[in-house]
């Protein structure tokens, strides 16, 4: 007992004596623990938020969300019949359309969003929509007059509105209506899903004022919510509807929402836990580093202890106790930091998901964080401690003994592999990625695999550092000093760089991926259209001639292309087989998912006619070719891959589009790539052919479309002129599309970036730690430099150059890895072509360099102001 108390006293003393070093070590533990606690708490809170109010979320006992083309009037009739049969007690419909929302005072201020019509007396069946301004006023009062509308916070801010202002809302069909703004409602008014939160520009009106937006189209509703007497009736209603609505609608009962909320909470939890583990691994590298330096600096002390008769095993006990003291400090700080960080994560989750998330403290994540903190410290610290225990007593006799012996490489190697396996298994258990007996196997393979990958990467860094240290210094002393010192410390630098690059990798991949998606969208618009404004207006000779007259007067106009849309044309058959049969078949054979069929259904509607004789249009084609001059007058069509793939359409297929009583045949010559950006129609055909077949007659469902290219300098003023002159036309500033899209992507990327920032923070701590440790060892060198006349500034300059190079290498490799991840994600998941821009890459590298230089400066400043005599005599 007394021996143990001696060991413990010794361990605590050593920890206290280690000061800065101990502090940094404890901080490494703290970062890992903080991440686990923060993400665990956030996950728990998220789960209780999403699983709590399933009924409110569903807005009824059953919700029906059909594909974008909506439910037909006949289908609404079927639901009405269910009500008559008392299968359901009530229902309410909503209508939603994409819209351009404009301030009626300033024609140039507009935003792309949506308009949703609801029945304020019924919607929603559960929960109530109340305004944020004027506070607490219910929807029934806000929408009491036919021309009333409520808007989202974002729309209110973007258009600089005030309550009582008049807005114009243009639909895709070219219909425009004026509304009076009576209130601002939260984003959750139109739904709690991700989409509702991302595309947060919307107007909500009474459904009775929406009829004009769908004139000539067979659309009865875009969503329907049902009320039933109990859960059994809800399930029964779902069964009936699944059968009658032919399976393309998403029909959810409260129980379904509950289940999917649980599922999404579970997968969110896995994401949180994996992110936490990344931080733990980075923290672990820091612990490894700290313990290695602690052991190496104390070789002599260990040797003296051993010469006094202490056994290797006892040395291990002493050092393990010391690492536990370090872990205790780290866990305490980490739990506190984690609780603080979870509040931040909560806020971010709330802002992007439109869920309101109550925050509460739970014991589970804190216990898990503490356990992981202790386990990681002991496991990561094991290797350095083992080496410390192998110090030879003879080192005590030598004044310049440095380094620890490397005995029993094979035994050590096996031990490290074993530890990696154990860590892998613990990681699998913690994240819950794999369950059952396979967990052990996957865990061990994963752990050892990760170790090998980390080892290989570290070796790569060692190699890069070595190669860098051989670079010519171009006669610059600071470069030479930096290269030399890097060359000497390449092993330790290797593990520092590993930590830095993992941090940059995690934050970089989400940043680069987001930028990539944005670039792709911008490129699609630029490449395919060479236009920046699109006008859609009702199809009439008078309107067209007015437009022509206006265009002649536009100062900035550079190019225009005419086309027409047959908005109500729907794909009726493929090679003689009715579309409905193909959809049923695809569902029955599971050859396409409901999701892809829903997308297909949305794009089956509408054909865009283009004036092929005059202008060339290029779309990315997956198969076949683009339309060009030789297609003038033919029935050739480029059909969207979203429609073609699930329905089995290929080049040469014969399609029939029907509109009312007319049926128009087309021949497929090309399949447009999945993510092609088209504004008004996914399926493209020749304008002349469409005119001949009667698809461009002057009805509400046909529209004229004009694409313009306007000089950037005149863009805003020209758009204002056009909107004034053509009050019933939809004038789209295509840049606005990009702005809206980019805004959504930014919001989506924010969340993983916040999480990744945690691991980057961990990386920064490790760098600070390593640099600080290096600085402690280099105080003597700094003293010598000062003794031969180096100024403080000169010394700081040396260290600055060195740390900048280190930061550059770590961040550079991190960014490269992030680019690899992005390429894989682009090609495998998003099916877009990768592109990289310096706008994202350079800041990431600068961030890495700043972290490294900052951490260096933090520790170098005090060291550089030390008087040389102190360092040289007393160190």
């Amino acid at each position: 007992m007394s021996t143990l108390s001696l060991y413990l006293r010794y361990a605590v003393r050593s920890f206290v004596r280690g000061r800065t070093r101990s502090l940094f070590g404890a901080f490494c533990v703290a970062v890992g623990v903080a991440s686990i606690v923060a993400l665990g708490l956030a996950g728990g809170n998220f789960k209780s938020a999403v699983t709590a109010n399933a009924q409110k979320q569903n807005r009824g006992d059953v919700s029906i969300v059909p594909p974008a083309s909506g439910l037909t009037l006949r289908q609404i009739g079927l639901i009405e019949q269910m009500k008559a049969r008392r299968q359901i007690t009530d229902y309410t419909t909503t209508m939603r359309d994409d819209a351009l929302i404009r301030d009626s005072r300033r024609q140039s201020t507009s935003t792309v969003g949506s308009i949703t019509g609801v029945d304020p007396q019924k919607f929603p069946f559960y929960d109530a929509v109340t305004a944020d301004a004027p506070t607490g006023v219910p929807l029934t009062r806000l929408l009491s007059q036919p021309g009333d509308a409520v808007v989202s916070h974002s729309t209110f801010a973007t258009l600089h509105l005030r309550l009582g202002a008049t807005i114009h809302v243009d639909s895709r069909q070219g219909f425009t209506h004026a509304y009076t703004v009576t209130g601002i409602v939260p984003d959750s008014a139109i739904g709690t899903g991700l989409q509702a939160a991302l595309f947060d520009d919307f107007v909500m009106v009474d459904i009775s004022s929406m009829k004009g937006y769908f004139h000539g189209l067979d659309v009865g509703a875009t969503s329907v919510y049902l009320k039933t007497s109990d859960a059994a009736h809800a399930a029964g209603a779902k069964r009936t509807l699944t059968h009658t609505l032919e399976g393309l609608s998403t029909i959810q009962t409260v129980a379904d929402v509950q289940k999917s909320s649980n599922d999404s909470a579970a997968s969110m939890n896995i994401f949180f836990r994996i992110s936490g583990l990344v931080a733990v691994i980075i923290g672990g590298i820091g612990i490894l580093n700290t313990m290695l330096v602690a052991a190496r600096r104390r070789t002599k002390e260990i040797a003296v202890l051993k010469s006094l008769g202490l056994k290797g095993r006892q040395v291990m006990v002493v050092f393990t106790l010391e690492s536990l003291v370090l872990a205790t400090g780290g866990v305490v700080v980490g739990v506190a930091l984690g609780i603080a960080a979870s509040l931040a994560v909560n806020g971010v989750t709330e802002s992007i998901s439109a869920y309101s998330i109550p925050w509460s403290l739970q014991a589970g994540p804190i216990i898990a964080g503490a356990a992981v903190g202790f386990a990681a410290t002991v496991l990561f610290g094991y290797f350095p401690i083992l080496r410390a225990s192998q110090a030879r007593p003879v080192s005590a006799l030598r004044s310049d003994s440095l380094g620890l012996p490397r005995q029993g490489r094979i035994r050590t190697g096996l031990l490290v592999l074993g530890l990696a396996g154990i860590m892998g298994y613990l990681a699998v258990l913690y994240t819950g990625l794999v369950a059952g007996p396979q967990a052990l196997l996957y865990g061990i393979i994963g752990g050892i695999g990760a170790l090998i990958a980390a080892g290989a990467l570290t070796q790569l860094f060692v190699l890069i550092v070595w190669a860098t240290s051989k670079l010519p210094s171009m006669g610059r002393l600071s470069a030479r000093m930096a290269f030399r010192s890097m060359g000497t410390n390449k092993r330790r630098l290797g593990s520092t760089l590993l930590a830095l690059s993992i941090g940059i990798l995690s934050i970089g991949s989400s940043t680069i991926l987001a930028q990539n998606i944005k670039d792709f969208a911008a490129q699609s618009i630029n490449n395919t259209q060479h236009i920046n404004v699109a006008i859609q207006m009702s199809h009439s000779a008078a309107a067209t001639s007015r437009l022509d007259a206006e265009l002649l007067r536009l100062p900035g106009l550079e190019q225009r292309k005419y086309g027409a849309i047959a908005g109500a044309s729907v794909l009726a058959s493929v090679d003689g087989t009715p579309t409905a049969t193909l959809v049923r078949r695809a569902l029955a054979h599971h050859s396409a998912t409901t999701d892809t069929l829903q997308t297909a259904a949305a794009k089956m509607r509408g054909i865009e006619g283009r004036n092929l004789g005059i202008s060339q249009y290029t779309l990315t084609t997956k198969a076949g070719r683009n339309l060009d001059k030789r297609d003038v007058g033919t029935d050739h069509m480029v059909v969207s891959a979203d429609v073609a793939t699930p329905l089995g359409i290929s080049v040469g297929s014969r399609l029939v589009f029907s509109e009312g009583n007319s049926h128009v045949p087309f021949t497929v010559v090309g399949i447009g790539a999945k993510n092609n950006f088209t504004i008004f129609g996914a399926n493209i055909a020749d304008l002349h052919y469409m005119q001949r077949m009667g698809l461009t007659t002057a009805t509400q469902s046909h529209a004229t479309v004009v694409y313009l290219q306007i000089k950037d300098s005149a863009l805003q003023s020209d758009i204002t002129v056009l909107r004034r002159a053509l009050p019933h036309a939809l004038v789209l500033d295509l840049g606005k599309f990009l702005t809206m899209f980019n805004g959504a992507i930014d919001k989506l990327a924010l969340f993983p970036q916040i999480i990744a920032a945690l691991s980057l923070f961990a990386g920064a701590v490790i760098i600070a730690n390593t640099v600080a440790l290096a600085m402690l060892e280099r105080r003597r060198e700094i003293g010598v430099l000062k003794a031969v006349g180096a100024k403080r500034r000169t010394i700081l300059q040396f260290l600055f150059v060195e740390n900048a190079i280190v930061g550059f290498i770590g961040a550079g490799v991190g960014v490269l890895l992030a680019m690899v991840v992005t390429v894989v994600a682009d090609q495998q998941l998003l099916k877009i072509s990768p592109s990289f821009s310096l706008v994202t890459i350079v800041p990431l590298i600068v961030l890495g360099m700043a972290l490294s230089v900052g951490a260096g400066a933090l520790t170098a400043l005090p060291a550089s102001s030390e008087k040389p005599m102190n360092v040289l005599r007393y160190e």
């Binding site: 002393l477 030479r480 000093m481 030399r484 010192s485 060359g487 000497t488 003597r780 060198e781 003293g783 010598v784 430099l785 000062k786 003794a787 031969v788 006349g789 180096a790 100024k791 403080r792 500034r793 000169t794 008087k867 040389p868 005599m869 102190n870 040289l872 005599r873």
Partner: protein
Amino acid sequence: MATALNIYAAGFVPGAAPAAIEVHQITKEYGEGDSRVQVLKGVDLTIARGEMLAIMGPSGSGKSTLLGAISGLDTVTSGQVIINGTDITRLGENALARVRNRNIGFVFQTFNLISTLTAQENVELPVLLDRKSSFNPSKRAQELLDLVGLSHRRKHRPGQMSGGEQQRVAIARALANDPEVIFGDEPTGNLDSTNGEAVMQLLTDLKEETGKTLVLVTHDPRIAAQCDRAVYMHDGRFLDDADVQQSMRSSR
């Protein structure tokens, strides 16, 4: 050999000061309050140009502290240290760095070479740090390594050399900017007798041939005997001449 060394380099103006170093009433204290220790208790010392002085005394007498104070490696609590007509205790950090770079050279007991640099690069260092130096760094280092007899070890790192060799590199480095004064803190303390003698021979030759001022802290009376003069410290003060004579005789 002597022709390679230019005593008038690095801004040294002859006749500007009668003595190489003048020390007036310097004190040095460590700690505060009850734990305050006065290591130097008002020391006066004048070292003539070209003189070779030994500072002797038992451990803890304050001789190394004195050396640190008069060489600008450390600050003093009060008093003046005048090197070459300039009171270095009044200099700012950068000006002091310039003095250390141009006007003095330092040889340490534990050599203190930069372990990552080669012998050649270690010697070049002071020249490179002086932007206005008239020396060519590489040529200067070669001359000095020639002088200390180590031209064949130019490309070696400190870890690849013996203690004696390392100390000779350190002497070459101390001479790099051709300073007026060389300070040595037990320069032979970490060397065996053969290497120690070789290093002392090098230092005395240097003094004879170039007229440099040398100030050495040492325990070793044989080294003190090779100097022009020796001062003895005890408890932060110099012993007076009579005590010194007494002490010298007894040590022989």
